[in-house]
């Protein structure tokens, strides 16, 4: 370390460390803007596929509905994982969100089953 740096105060050093930590934290799982555009492109293609599948009248309903649900689920988790950064976020954040999502899926599946939605 040069003699010039001796004049630095402890506060300056602390802020440098904090900046370094922030920098490391930021770049640990950083997705570049170019990759964000590619992810958006994937989402757009999936949306186009969803619409195209519904327009093809020859696709049987038994195949159409699972295909649409699958594409919907992929789009949902791509946005949550990459745009919302939940994939690389803390476990407590994942728990907070997914407990609500899982609770909603279970609760309303039971409700729909009770009203014979899946039978009709």
């Amino acid at each position: 370390m040069s003699i010039d740096n001796d004049t630095h105060t402890t506060d300056t050093n602390s802020s440098e460390v904090v900046s370094q930590l922030e920098h490391d934290d930021l770049h640990a799982h950083e997705i570049s803007d170019k990759n964000y555009v590619l992810i958006a492109l994937l989402l757009a293609v999936l949306t186009a596929m969803e619409v195209a599948v519904t327009e093809i009248s020859s696709v049987p309903e038994s195949l159409l509905i699972p295909a649409l649900l699958l594409m919907m689920a992929v789009k949902f988790f791509v946005v949550v994982s990459y745009f919302m950064h939940l994939k690389h976020d803390a476990a407590l954040f994942k728990f907070g969100f997914y407990i609500g999502l899982a609770g909603a899926v279970v609760l309303y599946s039971v409700m729909l089953t009770t009203f014979h939605f899946f039978i009709n």
């Binding site: 050093n13 922030e22 934290d25 989402l43 949306t47 949902f76 609770g103 909603a104 309303y108 939605f117």
Partner: protein
Amino acid sequence: MSDTTTEPPVMPEPETEIPAGYDDGQDHIGLAHHTTTGLSNTKLAMWLFLGSECLLFGGLISTYMLYRNRQGDAIGPDQLWDIPFTSATSFILLMSSLTMVLAVSAAKRKDERGTRLWLTVTALLGGLFLAGQVYEFTVFYREGLGYTTSLFSSSFYTLTGFHGVHVAVGIIMLLSLVGMLAKGRIVGDKAETVEMVGLYWHFVDVVWIVIFTLVYLIPA
């Protein structure tokens, strides 16, 4: 005292790498704000809020699914939906998620001009989506689908209306953020504030991903 005898300040090394989302104990204006979890309380609160929103929209979506064939002699979904138009508005909302994530990315780079630009574009795309929804509602109303026409119409307008209100609130948040950034009125971590608004906006988008498939694409 000569310079050579002075101990140079030692740069303390971080003991471990702080995982993404964890609080390093300092905010960006230098004030300590330790939390019991070591995580940002603001971010934790936002994720818990979004988890609870899943339950709200889950209730509205399942109610719609239950009533979507209950229109009696009134007009039903198959006669109303304009899939190419709704696909276009869905695409607009999807792209607003891209511009939002670019705003967050710019905020993390401390590029304030870029942040304001992408936030404004996101708000404009959101406004375009909302205008499309208002147009769609107007067309449906003219076709004879009022709020109380049938169980189908009530559940449809309630679900998509609630989503539209969320989009409107998001636009207000985005524009307020642009204004506050311009006037330098954000206290604390600007990047985190932009990220919180971003999380809300992306959630509005993922809810529409579900609505678009379950309401518009899956045949009644």
